[in-house]
Amino acid sequence: MATSSGKQINMFGVYGLNLKIEEGDIKIELAGDGKEKNYFRKVGDESVEKKIYADRGEIIVSPVPPVNLPVNVSNHLMIEFDKSIFIEPGVEQKIFIKFPLEIGVFLSDEKDVEPFDIFTKTKLKYTLYGRPEDGFVCRWWKSEVYEKIPSIEKLYEGVIELKIKNNYNEWTEINKIVFNTINMKIFYKDYAYCSANLEIVKKSIGKTYFNEKIEGMKGAVDLYLAKSRKLGISLVKEIEKEFFMERGFK
């Protein structure tokens, strides 16, 4: 249940400065008279309280890339498949996998979008992709591989539509995929959704990237742009559209 002066009645969306959202064991509430508002959020046993002073502005509840909790140590997400898949040379195949959901609550006005609370219901675990001396720390998640959009617990997981194209001249076995989340374009209706690609270019080398538009879905708030604005820096140089998986797919 979500009630507010918001424009959309589900968990994700834009709300006014008085809101009350209750979905499963998630409770978000912003209430108060005048400029002083009290923010309260509870997920399971964890609760957070903050004060906000505002008389205009909005609250945005949006999925964010799942690399912020408990603290941000990485911008990479690894999804391990429950079983290996094999792709024939030249073949293009679409599959669906699930990713762990982190939910961000943002304060917004005409000039600024400010993240002020991020939470998740998922188990947090990190791993290393590559070698200890030059690999990438990644948020780790395990997913089954689906042929069509799977049913999900929408406040727990999102769906990635993954197009795999084998441009290499040998059969390729894949049991994990790594993304750079700085360019992770998340969309939502009542659940989070991404469209991504893996192009196998050589033996054990592939590039992954996200598609920037999905018809009929609303784009999530770009957490990195919000953060960069807060820090007064430009992330333009740091945003790389593709991540090269150079340490294999197994």
């Binding site: 909790l69 140590v73 990485s74 947090l124 990190y126 791993t127 290393l128 200890p132 720390v137």
Partner: protein, 266 residues
């Protein structure tokens, strides 16, 4: 009087044409120096602290101006040979006097090029542990773990053995945990693995390893090897040992005190 005549007119023995050429050359040198300065600023601003970038850009700017100015003097007929002799002698004097400074300066440049350390890295230099706060053109500053600032001349940094704890994305640490001989070591290993699995930053891969390492005098010693992201390595290390101890004791496995069995003669 034509323009040509005006250009040939002499002021203090120097033709106006030569003076104009000299001014033009200086203007070009200043423009070149400014362009170099801007490019140095843009190229290094994300890699080095502001103070170091300013030092570099100023250094490059004035070196170009001085060299350009001296080279342009020949346009207005000032001979460089006298300057070179005087400059040579002065250079030798300054060279001897500033050996250390130059050595530190060159070491600073090589530190920037080779980048064995960066701002914010946790390092050990000459038995001093801490975080790199600044890499200036002549010196490097380390903030030790107890908050004291240690300044190293760059020559010292460059020629010392440097341990950079942050240059790898992950880092391993180890605990030795003793359990009683009467306890089930396999059960203890399972419990420890369960505790490790619960922590987000105990990495899934490389997998943590738990094994019986030694049959000690008073205990069976288990070795626990854990990989964690370098950025949070220390907090994971301080957190996990107590969690393991609590979990083991909850399951009835105890960490024994040193003990000795004495057999009494009848």
């Amino acid at each position: 009087m034509t323009i040509w005549d005006i250009l040939k007119y002499k002021i203090a023995g120097i033709e106006i044409e030569a003076i104009l050429k000299f001014i033009g050359a200086i203007l070009i040198i200043v423009i070149v120096a400014k362009v170099v300065r801007i490019n140095i600023r843009r190229g290094l601003k994300d890699k080095l602290p502001d103070a170091t970038v300013k030092n570099f850009e100023k250094f490059a700017y004035y070196i170009i101006i001085i060299i350009g100015f001296v080279a342009s003097l020949s346009i207005i007929g000032i001979s460089l040979s006298g300057l070179l002799v005087a400059g040579g002698i002065l250079g030798i004097v300054i060279g001897f006097a500033s050996q250390t400074v130059v050595s530190n300066l060159l070491s600073g440049i090589f530190l920037v090029i080779e980048r064995p350390i960066g701002i914010g890295d946790a390092v050990r230099i000459e038995d001093v542990d801490g975080i790199v706060e600044e890499i200036k053109i002549l010196s490097t500053t380390i903030r030790t773990w107890d908050g004291i600032y240690a300044r190293f001349p760059n020559e010292k940094v460059f020629t010392s053995k440097i341990y950079n704890y942050y240059s790898s994305p992950v880092r391993r640490f180890e605990y030795k945990i003793g359990i009683r001989y009467s306890d089930d070591a396999n059960k203890a290993i399972d419990i420890i693995k369960r505790v490790l699995e619960e922590h987000p930053f105990v990495l899934k891969q490389p997998e943590p390893i738990v094994f019986v390492d030694e049959l000690g005098e008073s205990s069976v010693n288990l070795s626990v090897r854990i990989w964690a992201p370098s950025a949070v390595w220390f907090s994971v290390k301080t957190e996990m040992l107590w969690k393991i101890k609590v979990a083991l004791e909850k399951e009835g496995i105890q960490i024994p005190f040193p003990q000795r069995v004495i057999w009494m003669a009848k």
